[in-house]
Every structure is written in structure tokens, then in C-alpha cells.
């Protein structure tokens, strides 16, 4: 049985008791369906993490023009001068 409160904590998601109950039932049903993977013999099969055999290209690590600090700060929920502000957390 999936421990949803533990998973929510790892995922940094505050969930309500009702959500926890629903997610627990739904995720258990989903994972039950996924058990079919166990039957596949994957011995010696290299995990595939990206789909095509593209040779990754790298660009030169050069500085480029970008907007200024104000643009970066523009979207902040709260700021103090040129800093992002958060409520006291310790």
C-alpha cells in the first residue's frame, strides 16, 4: 500500500485528508495495473532514458545579452529592493 503522506512530503505537496484518501485509492489502482511490467524479462536490457540516437550538441559557453535584473525580479510574488523576499521560515 502506498504511503501517500510520505510521498506528498517528498514531493513537497501539502494535501488535505480527503485528497490523501482519494490519491491513495487511485494510485493503488494505477500501480496495480502497472504490475504487468513485472512479467517482462528485462535481464541485460539497458534502460532507455531518451528516445533517439541524437548526438547531443553543446554550444560554446559564451556570455550573451539578456534582460536586466529588474526583468528577472518582475515576476516575484514579493521582493525587497533587488532581492526575492520570502516570509521568515526558520
Amino acid at each position: 500500500m502506498i504511503d501517500v503522506n510520505k510521498v506528498a512530503e517528498l514531493a513537497r505537496l501539502k494535501i488535505t485528508e480527503k485528497e490523501g484518501q482519494d490519491y491513495s485509492n487511485q494510485l493503488s489502482a494505477i500501480l496495480k495495473h502497472f504490475e504487468m511490467l513485472e512479467a517482462v524479462d528485462t535481464k541485460d536490457i539497458e534502460p532507455m532514458v531518451t528516445p533517439s540516437e541524437i548526438e547531443l550538441s553543446f554550444r560554446e559557453d559564451n556570455a550573451t545579452e539578456w534582460s536586466n535584473a529588474e526583468t528577472a525580479l518582475d515576476q516575484a510574488p514579493e521582493k525587497a529592493g533587488r532581492l526575492f523576499k520570502v516570509p521568515p521560515v526558520v
Partner: protein, 490 residues
């Protein structure tokens, strides 16, 4: 004036170039249609208040004799997943409401360079997570053919916009079928190019090894043209391919002599509804008549694609979406009355209140699959079976050039029909997800209608970087399906 909104992008560009219509006239016609229809369909979440200004500039550029791109004078709707500089971009999540990106996605820049006029942003499932467009903070999108039905998802707004005459072309993203399935549900062409063809830079990330951008349009040729515009290597996305981009739209040929079209037998199960089966069977006859040889192939592990897809996609999503913490941008909870206990509480409340139900469900599933003690059994196992699925495709493509199949077992289902059962919703993606797992190009092209008047699309899949073959088969289907009804209203 003849009705501009029912013209396709290539004709609109020609009308603009010939002087038949100004860019402002064209743009205004589509803005008027959005004004008229969007209350019902909800395909757009906002229009671009600079669209008419851009159009007026194009009219001036034309008078001045400047070079105009292949999409000049053509409005385009952009899915909310794409960052658009100066134009709010939310992924249809409360978490990102009010976010105005400081830069545009590479795809958006390329479209603008080609002359496309961004007319607005299209509705979608939150963070592209959904198959019905019922997970948007802006509300459900309605299927223009029958508003009791869903338009599909996650790019439901982009698909509905085209068939409702709100924009001649639109952009979507496809992580597990999010372009092809809504194209099928709405009766439009929708293309997911090969993974690596199109830059993902500036597209809000869902699952980075699966995401790919692509167009919706009324005709195959328009989509091929848009794919030409948006494809190519991008220094900002190291997974983009350096292969040259062919002139697919010019090279389209509906003559399929010498081509082998494969029918994956596992995609023709008893689960397929009779009307869908009939339309797909008819398409097979059309493709044969166009000169192709039909062969049966096998993708024996198709039944594993849903578990593999949902484990891979949610694992990547849980990682990609960890950036949303409410510090630098996005939703922040109200901490005035109830200050955070610690940093984790601060993050958890911002995220818990900002993300919607389905997004949280998937983050939880992905977090679980990646967590200590479960990683090997879920994520690693899924990646191993992913290779098995890819190998199956390679075997199939030894026997044929293009795969032909249904997009889904049913036409558009009803709103609220599947919302209470997430697994049932996931299983709807059975024929589309493995294309993304293998990184292949795929598309949906309209091929028929149900007796109750809902459209049916045909799925075509090619091997890596062989989009031309897929477009050619699609063109043959489009030509033969001439009698298929193209617009809900006429």
C-alpha cells in the same frame, strides 16, 4: 466579403501577398470569430492585444516591398505551454497565473520570423496533463462538433480553435498523444514531429524525453509547411538534430507506388468502436488505391505502453515541476495569518494550493516511482521496457515505411464521462503513447465521421526523421476523404 475564417493558411498567405486581403483584415476576421464563438467553446484563454499592430506592420512592410515569410498574414493560436514574451503564459495552472515570460520559445520566434501573427493563447490541460481538456484552471474546452463532448487533450483548445474557425493554424505539444488525439476528436490534422526535430526551448517542460511541439491545421500541406518553419537545430536545446529540414510541403505526393503501409495487428483490437473501425478500414482501401502495398506487422508489447508511459512521464514531470516553489515567480499562498513552520512547509503550501488535482496526482506517482526503494522496480524497469517497445518498432519498420492505425478506440467521449476514474482516462492513450516513448513522428488526419456526427482521425507513424512518408500517406487519405465533412457549421 467571402468568408476569410474558412480559408486555409496557404490560401490566406497567397491572398495577403496578392493584395486580396490585408493582414489586418485577416486578423480582424479571426478575432471576430473568437469573440463570437469562444464563450461557448472556450478554446482561447486570452487574445494577443498586439495582434492587430503586428498585422498593420506587415501591411506596411508589404507596401515597402520587404521580404515576407511563408506564413505572412496568417494568424496562429499558441498553446499555453509555449512562453510568449510579454504575453501571459500559465500552462493553464493557477500556479502560474499572471506569469509574463521575459522571452519567447524558439518555436514562437521561428513562427514570428516566418510572418505568423500570434492571435492568442489556447486552452489546454494543466501542464499538458490530461486527455480531455477537463483539467484547466480556465475551465473545460467544448468540442465544436458537439459541445457535450470533450475536444480531447491535452492540446484541446488548439484543436478546437482550428475547427471552430478561430485560427487557421495553431500550435500544440504532444507528450503521449496530446496533438494526435485532440486532432482525431476535433477532425483536424495534427502532427507530432520526430523527437529532436523541433526545439523544446521555452516550452514549459512536462516530460523532457517525450515532449515535442507540432501544428494543427485543416490540411496536410499546411501542417507540413508549419513543421518546416519550426524544425531545425537550436543551440538552446542540445537534443535537437542537425539533420537538414526537407521541404515537406513542396515534396508532398499522394502517389504511394512502392510504399509499404503496415497495420500493427495489436492496434486493431475488439475494443475499437464500429464507426472508428469502419472509417479506418475505408482508409486502408484508399491508401491501397493510391498505390501502396498493405502489410501486417506486429507490435507485440503494445499492452505495456500505458504502464511504461505513465511511469516515465510522471517521473520526469515530478522532477521538472520541482522548480515551482513560489519564490521567484508564480503562485504564493497567503502566509500572513499562518506563517510557514519551515522551508518545506512554505514550498508545500505554495505547491499544494497552486497545482490542480491531476497534476498533483502525477507528481505523486512520479515521486513514488523515483523514491528510494522503488526506483528499480518502477522507473528503471519502465526504462528497460521502453527499449523493448522501441525495438518492436524497429522490427516493424523493417517490413514497412509507415504504420496506419486508429488514434484511439473511440471518438470524442462526453464531458465528465471519465473524470472520476483516472486509470480509465489513462487507458484512452493506448495507441498514442508508444510513439513518444520511441521518439517517432506521428500524425492524425481526418478520415471519416461517426453516425452521430463526430469526426474520426487516422493515425500515421513513420520511423525517425521520415516525416515525408507520413505526409504523403496523409495526403492520399485527405484527397480520398474529400467527402468528409470539414466544418461543424457547414
Amino acid at each position: 466579403m467571402e468568408n476569410i475564417i474558412y480559408k486555409n493558411a496557404i490560401d490566406l498567405n497567397a491572398d495577403f501577398i496578392s493584395g486580396k486581403h490585408t493582414a489586418v483584415e485577416i486578423t480582424q476576421a479571426f478575432l471576430d470569430q473568437i469573440e463570437k464563438e469562444n464563450k461557448t467553446i472556450n478554446a482561447f484563454v486570452r487574445t494577443n492585444d498586439k495582434a492587430l499592430k503586428v498585422a498593420a506592420q506587415q501591411d506596411a512592410d508589404k507596401l515597402a516591398g520587404k521580404d515576407l515569410g511563408p506564413l505572412a498574414g496568417v494568424p496562429i493560436g499558441i498553446k499555453e505551454m509555449f512562453c510568449t514574451e510579454g504575453l501571459e503564459t500559465t500552462a493553464c495552472s493557477n500556479l502560474l497565473k499572471g506569469f509574463v515570460p521575459p522571452y519567447s520559445a524558439t518555436v514562437v520566434k521561428k513562427l514570428e520570423t516566418a510572418g505568423a501573427i500570434i492571435i492568442g493563447k489556447c486552452n489546454q490541460d494543466e501542464f499538458a496533463m490530461g486527455s480531455s481538456n477537463e483539467n484547466s484552471c480556465y475551465g473545460d474546452v467544448k468540442n465544436p462538433w458537439n459541445i457535450e463532448h470533450v475536444p480531447g487533450g491535452s492540446s484541446g483548445g488548439s484543436a478546437a480553435a482550428v475547427v471552430a474557425g478561430m485560427s487557421p493554424i495553431t500550435m500544440g505539444t504532444d507528450t503521449g498523444g496530446s496533438i494526435r488525439q485532440p486532432a482525431h476528436f476535433c477532425g483536424v490534422v495534427g502532427v507530432k514531429p520526430t523527437y529532436g526535430r523541433v526545439s523544446r526551448y521555452g516550452i514549459i517542460a512536462f516530460a523532457s524525453s517525450l515532449d515535442q511541439a507540432g501544428p494543427f491545421s485543416k490540411t496536410v500541406k499546411e501542417s507540413a509547411l508549419v513543421c518546416e518553419v519550426i524544425s531545425g537545430q537550436d543551440p538552446m536545446d542540445g537534443t535537437t538534430s542537425s539533420l537538414p529540414v526537407p521541404e515537406w510541403s513542396k515534396n508532398i505526393s499522394a502517389d504511394l507506388k512502392g510504399m509499404k503501409v503496415g497495420l500493427p495487428k495489436e492496434y486493431f483490437s475488439d475494443a475499437i468502436e464500429a464507426d472508428v473501425k469502419e472509417a479506418v478500414d475505408k482508409s486502408i482501401e484508399w491508401v491501397k488505391a493510391a498505390g501502396a502495398e498493405i502489410v501486417e506487422v506486429s507490435l507485440p508489447n503494445t499492452h505495456l505502453s500505458i504502464p511504461v508511459y505513465y511511469l516515465v512521464a510522471t517521473s520526469e514531470a515530478s522532477s521538472n515541476l520541482s522548480r515551482y516553489d513560489g519564490v521567484r515567480y508564480g503562485q504564493r499562498s497567503d502566509f500572513e495569518a499562518n506563517p510557514p513552520k519551515d522551508l518545506a512547509d512554505f514550498y508545500s503550501r505554495n505547491r499544494g494550493e497552486g497545482f490542480g488535482e491531476e497534476v498533483k496526482r502525477r507528481i505523486m506517482l512520479g515521486t513514488y516511482a523515483l523514491s528510494s526503494g522503488y526506483f528499480d522496480a518502477y522507473y528503471k524497469k519502465a526504462c528497460q521496457v521502453r527499449r523493448v517497445l522501441k525495438n518492436d518498432f524497429e522490427e516493424a519498420f523493417k517490413k514497412c515505411d509507415v504504420l496506419l492505425s486508429p488514434v484511439a478506440t473511440t471518438p470524442a467521449f462526453k464531458i465528465n464521462e471519465k473524470t472520476s476514474d483516472p486509470l480509465a482516462m489513462y487507458l484512452n492513450d493506448i495507441y498514442t503513447t508508444s510513439t513518444n516513448l520511441a521518439g517517432l513522428p506521428g500524425m492524425s488526419v481526418p478520415c471519416g465521421m461517426t453516425k452521430s456526427g463526430l469526426p474520426i482521425g487516422l493515425q500515421l507513424t513513420a520511423s525517425h526523421f521520415e516525416e515525408q512518408k507520413m505526409f504523403n500517406v496523409a495526403q492520399a487519405v485527405e484527397d480520398a476523404a474529400d467527402q468528409v465533412k470539414r466544418w461543424p457549421n457547414g
